[in-house]
């Protein structure tokens, strides 16, 4: 068979009528030549020569501008597309400073260890070329104990991650005296990753870092880089707590790229079910790989990564299962395996990789030609990041986005003009989230006593110090608050998730030879490795025999299952405090603080390929408790009286409405779908909705418990921040209530399905067949 080039393949694709029927947009961006500028005056000749030897005789315009600002001592944020040479913007000034004064120090922060390792190699090769004795080292959990002391004293560039800065460096700052007393630059790469909880934590870690630097008499210059986001300057300034100069106009050349948006065909018009994006992705990826086009496929969940990897491996038989011609790649894989896959991609041994957004960040996997997004990644910024994996440097490339039957996906592919014109998302953080703030006040007090008059964060510091004093954690002597507890506060909370614990997955297939095969974070453990679940890893299926939460271990056994499992949860919300309230028509709209209790109650078995539902299982796991902020509105019972539906059907209608509101809220807020969650109940938490095989009903107790009485029925729809303490979305939704409802009405009314589908009110399997009709009736009455 003759292989096609990517260009030829694209040309043929355009001639396939059936395929083109599903294409909603086919946009080819011409190459951009780029804008160059000279090295700023005063850059040492040997540095210019160093980059010259690497073919960089002139800079891109944004690099020249950023370097100019940095050398003036301005805190600078560079927000330009993937592969526009951001690394040079900080490496050059850092090298210049160290050459001028070898005592100078720089601290680099990367969100992952893998990125830190990558960057260190790059930096080392620069140093090697310079023939200078400059020491750069990574410092993270993998750093051997005996190397640590030397790194603390000698490394001029310390490359680490926020977690290590938080738990391993700041609390031991006296040992790092050399670093902090000479710190000239702090480099924070991939700033857009630090949003939500992680970003709110990092902002506080930066507050602590600045405080420690002040103690050692330093005020380092911050150099940050970010992918293209809507509010880089605002985000950078909020994260750093200081003014930053923004450099966002890229002068980097870009290769020609074809972007294709696909909406898979409807396979069931009645139910509004479209062909799975995995099916489309599998076909396209197979063709590309057959033609020798190295391809990355992004799937939206770990599960989908595994399912698709398995499909593709099946497609290329004759290769042993261990062969990595096609491979999965995601967070739970152990580091060795990940390194192996990355290397395989760079060397062209791995021709196809299926990944979660783990490969969205700047890990060096070399140049890929095609990027397929099986499902909208949830954000516009994420979409461009993933699409940018193809054709990073030059040549022809293609990015294909395949929509799922979800409101967000449908919205994006059906409105391509909006998609191509839209600004990417805002990054939002709330560094003054009380729990996060308090945690870092503790950590900061451990590092140095607080003095009266000091400030830290936006809340009343003295009151919080007083609170900690009352709790006996701090001890005040006149105007200073000292740490007075035995614990090590930085070790108590992880920056990345609420619970720092991971559950390890142990393969106990061979008796007497248990093997750790993966880790899942605490929250995912409840849905991914509950007893009876099928855990998928690199397209193998494992049955979870036992989950020991106390010991944080899940024991699994390799099985040849033809199905996978999907967990079912119930959620119950109780209002604790209303911040604001108003009435719109007969509806009470509010936002405030809530307590959310959720529990995994069971799971569905779903057959591979056909997605047939094979049955249910029960799960007995403890409840999880979340205090957060929420927006909600209550529908008074009389308003629902005229609707000719049963109680259960009304509950379905409300579920369907909540489903579309949740998705639309994510669009309106430009937030990730998972930053929000939804629930139906009443404000007091006296009843909630129970989901079982056939229908949804409102009950007083999740396990037993009968239906509640007629009079108790004033249903409330909650959309809440999916983080303890809240991240600040609910206030915005409260303001946008009317717009949100109007959008939901448009979305549901204009959906081509007959009785509801995943693109409007959710799958009929979950909300029944009356949800669409019911939701529209409710919306109509709310509008009166």
């Amino acid at each position: 068979m003759t292989r096609l080039t990517l260009g030829e393949w694209l040309a043929r694709l355009q001639n396939r009528r059936r395929f083109m029927e599903n294409v909603r947009a086919w946009v080819r961006t011409p190459p951009f030549e780029g804008r160059l500028a000279d090295f700023p005056p005063g850059i040492p000749d040997r540095l210019a020569a160093l980059f010259g030897r690497r073919g960089i005789t002139r800079l891109y315009s944004h690099q020249a501008r950023a370097i100019g600002l940095i050398r003036e001592g301005k805190d600078t944020l560079i927000a330009t597309p993937t592969a526009s040479g951001k690394t040079l913007c900080y490496n050059l000034p850092v090298l210049e400073a160290i050459l001028e004064d070898p005592a100078s120090r720089a601290l680099y922060l990367f969100p992952t260890k893998a990125l830190a390792q990558d960057q260190r190699e790059e930096f080392q090769s620069l140093i090697g070329d310079l023939k200078e004795d400059i020491k750069s080292h990574t410092y993270d959990g993998d750093t051997p104990d005996d190397a640590r002391q030397a790194i603390r004293k000698q490394a001029q560039v310390v490359i680490t991650n926020p977690d290590m800065l938080h738990t391993g460096i700041l609390p031991h700052h006296p040992k790092w005296q050399k670093l902090f007393s000479n710190l000239k630059y702090v480099v924070i790469d991939e700033l857009h990753v630090y949003r939500g909880v992680f970003g709110s934590h990092l902002a506080n870690v930066i507050r602590r870092l600045v405080r420690i630097c002040r103690f050692y008499g330093r005020d380092p210059v911050f150099i940050c880089s970010s992918a293209t986001i809507a509010n880089p300057k605002e985000h950078g300034e909020r994260l750093l707590g200081r003014r930053v100069e923004l450099v966002s106009e890229s002068g980097a050349p870009a290769a020609a790229k074809t972007v294709i948006l696909i909406n898979p065909p409807l396979v069931n018009r009645e139910l509004g079910i479209r062909q799975s994006p995995l099916t489309v992705a599998r076909k396209l990826a197979s063709e590309l790989i057959e033609n020798g086009v190295q391809t990355i496929v992004f799937a939206t969940s770990r599960l989908n990564v595994e399912v698709l990897t398995r499909y593709l491996k099946d497609r290329f038989p004759g290769r042993p299962i261990q062969d990595r011609f096609v491979s999965g790649y995601r967070g739970g894989y152990l580091p060795n395996l990940r390194r192996e896959i990355e290397e395989g991609l760079r060397e062209g041994k791995v021709m196809g990789v299926v990944s979660t957004n783990a490969l969205e960040l700047g890990i060096d996997i070399g140049k890929l030609e095609a990027s397929i997004l099986a499902g909208y990644p949830g954000t516009i910024a994420g979409t461009w990041q993933q699409a940018g994996r193809a054709g990073r440097r030059s040549g022809e490339s293609v990015a294909i986005l395949i929509a799922k039957s979800l409101p967000l996906d449908q919205f994006v592919v059906e409105n391509p003009d909006y998609f191509f014109a839209a600004s990417p998302e805002h990054c939002r953080i709330n560094p003054d989230n009380l729990l996060i703030l308090l945690h870092h006040i503790k950590s900061a007090a451990f590092e140095l006593p607080f003095e009266r008059g000091e400030s830290f964060g936006g809340e009343n510091l003295e009151e919080l110090l007083g609170y900690l004093e009352e709790k006996g954690i701090l001890h005040r002597v006149t105007d200073r608050w000292h740490w007075s507890a035995e614990s090590y506060p930085a070790g108590e909370v992880s920056l990345r998730s609420v619970n720092p614990e991971n559950v390890v997955v142990i393969d106990a297939t061979e008796t007497g030879n248990p093997k750790t095969i993966a880790e899942v974070d605490w929250d995912s453990a409840f849905t991914a490795v509950h007893e009876g679940a099928i855990y998928l890893l690199d397209s193998e299926t494992y049955h979870v025999d036992r989950l020991e939460l106390e010991r944080k271990k899940a024991y699994v056994r390799k099985v040849a299952a033809d199905y996978y499992t999907d967990a079912m949860t119930y959620t119950n919300v109780r209002v604790i405090d209303g911040f604001e309230s108003r009435t719109e028509g007969e509806v009470i709209v509010e936002h405030g603080e809530v307590q959310v209790v959720s529990k995994v109650v069971g799971y569905k078995k779903i057959k591979f390929y056909t997605s047939e539902n094979l049955g249910y299982g029960e799960v007995n796991l403890p409840e999880k408790d979340l205090h957060t902020t929420s927006y909600w509105f209550t529908v008074p019972k009389p308003l629902l009286d005229g609707i000719a539906l049963t109680r259960a059907e009304i509950v379905d209608a409300l579920s369907g409405l909540a489903y579309s509101l949740h998705h639309l809220a994510a669009v309106i807020l430009m937030a990730d779908l998972h930053d929000l969650d939804r629930a139906i109940g009443d404000k007091s938490g006296r009843w909630f909705v129970r989901y079982d095989q056939r229908q949804r009903q409102i009950v007083t107790n999740p396990v037993g418990g009968g239906p509640v009485g007629e009079d108790a029925f004033d249903p409330t729809i909650f959309l809440f921040d999916a983080y303890p303490g809240g991240i600040g979305f609910s206030g915005l939704l409260y303001l946008k209530h009317a717009y949100l409802l109007a959008s939901a009405r448009r979305l549901i009314a204009s959906c081509p399905c007959e009785v509801g589908c995943p693109a409007c009110v959710g799958p009929t399997l979950e909300v029944g067949t009356k949800a669409k009709e019911g939701a529209l009736s409710i919306l109509e009455r709310l509008d009166r």
């Binding site: 006296p174 740490w483 035995e486 090590y488 506060p489």
Partner: protein
């Protein structure tokens, strides 16, 4: 944000605070309390009240133990001085033995030759009690015990922080007494006490004088010399080496908690035990130094040490390059009643002889060992090497190796190199033919 509001929100988030039961926002309560306080103060102020006399120098009220308030530059702290006449004993060890501390032995223990030029009167025995055991910038030493010889007494000074604010003054005092000419003796002080104090000097913006002092940390030599003991805790060593028992001692993990309680309640009863614990640590440190230095440094006074310890001393000496001294100990043990010690000391001795080039003596020792135990693989192997490389007698070497391989009780790890040697020897013999 009004006062009390933040805390109210926080209470809900942490789940530590239940919802207010009835009426009255928490703010009201705070208001009430402060009103109450104002009223009480107003009443009290009307009465002419004799002002409490300022704390006198010795034993201010509430001071945990008898001591004086030491005023150092810019602050004060509690200072307790204890003197022990050298006629007293610590467990089985007369304190007077300190005068005879073997400095050569101390230098060998520390692996630091500089120490040999110091005098025992330069020693500063250091032990601290801290607010935590895991380290980090938030942990400090609230009690610093310093022992040293002065004229005919052993003095233990204890520097106690009645509050965090007294740290700087205490560190300044420590810097003064730990000046040039001293050396430090500690137990695990390199990793812990001195390390932690180094951080405290940084945080208080003071120069760290300890950094430049020679430091004998007894933990490392104690581990090597007393490997027979179940652990290398100071309490175990003082019992086994100094025959000192301290019943009712405060467990180390309770100490930080006690100090935090003291900060809140100022109850001297909480803290007395800590002073005692620290004092005994310093005394044991001194006695242990004498014991261990004697074991390794002198030629006499070894009679009462168990043979196992002597053998360990020989090993340490051999590591430090003191081959003669190590050999002398081994020679004294070669006919020891304990079989394992006897065998081990002969092996060590033979290796020492080999390193010193005394091959004939080593050879006769190996032969003696084989004579006593024909299965002695160590001696047989050494002898085989000697036959092969020194004597050029591959036949004799081959016989020895064959005999060893004939012995079925060989592990794979032992067998592989022997087989390799066997093949090599056979090859060499082939070629000769």
């Amino acid at each position: 944000m009004t006062g009390g509001e933040v805390i109210k929100r926080l209470g809900r988030l942490t789940g530590s605070e239940k919802q207010p039961e009835t009426g009255g926002a928490p703010g009201d309560r705070a208001q009430e309390t402060s009103d109450l306080r104002r009223r009480i103060e107003a009443i009290m102020n009307r009465r002419p009240e004799p002002r409490q006399p300022q704390a006198v120098l010795d034993q201010a009220p509430g001071d945990p133990v008898e001591g004086v308030e030491m005023i150092a530059q810019g602050g004060a702290f509690l200072f307790v001085r204890r003197e022990f006449p050298l006629s007293e004993r610590h467990g089985g060890k007369p304190l007077a033995e300190l005068l005879g501390l073997n400095m050569k032995g101390a230098a060998l223990l520390a692996g630091d030759r500089r120490l040999a030029d110091y005098d025992v009167r330069d020693a500063l025995f250091l032990d601290t009690e801290t607010t935590g055991l895991s380290g980090g910038a938030g942990t400090l030493a609230f009690l610093i015990g310093l022992g040293f010889l002065q004229k005919d007494t052993f003095v233990v000074n204890q520097l106690f922080l009645r509050d965090f604010s007294e740290e700087k003054a205490a560190l300044r005092y420590l810097a003064d007494v730990a000046g040039a000419g001293r050396f430090l003796v500690s137990y695990n002080g390199k990793a812990f006490d001195a390390n932690l104090l180094a951080g405290r000097f940084v945080v208080n913006r003071l120069d760290n004088p300890l950094l430049s002092l020679p430091h004998l940390d007894l933990l490392f030599p104690a581990r090597r010399l007393c490997g027979r003991l179940k652990d290398a805790r100071l309490a175990t060593l003082e019992r086994e080496v100094c025959r000192f028992h301290r019943p009712g001692d405060l467990p180390a993990q309770e100490i930080p908690g006690r100090y935090f309680s003291w900060l809140r309640r100022r109850d001297p009863a909480l803290i007395g035990d800590i002073f005692r614990h620290n004092l005994l640590d310093v005394l044991s440190l001194a006695a242990l130094t004498v014991g261990l230095a004697g074991l390794i440094g002198s030629d006499k006074d070894r009679g009462d040490h168990p043979p196992g310890d002597l053998l360990a001393a020989a090993r340490l000496l051999s590591c430090r390059g003191e081959l003669k001294a190590a050999g002398a100990i081994c020679a004294g043990l070669r006919d020891c009643g304990n079989r394992a010690v006897r065998q081990e000391s002969r092996r060590l001795l033979s290796l020492l002889l080999k390193r010193q080039g005394e091959l004939p003596q080593a050879v006769s020792l190996w032969e003696e060992m084989i004579k006593e135990d024909p299965d002695d693989r160590f001696a047989a192997l050494e002898l085989a090497k000697w036959y092969e490389h020194r004597r050029g007698d591959c036949g004799a070497a081959l016989d020895l190796v064959k005999r060893m391989l004939g012995n079925c009780a060989l592990s794979d790890r032992e067998e592989a190199p022997l087989k390799h040697r066997l093949r090599r020897l056979q090859g060499r013999l082939e070629r000769k033919k």
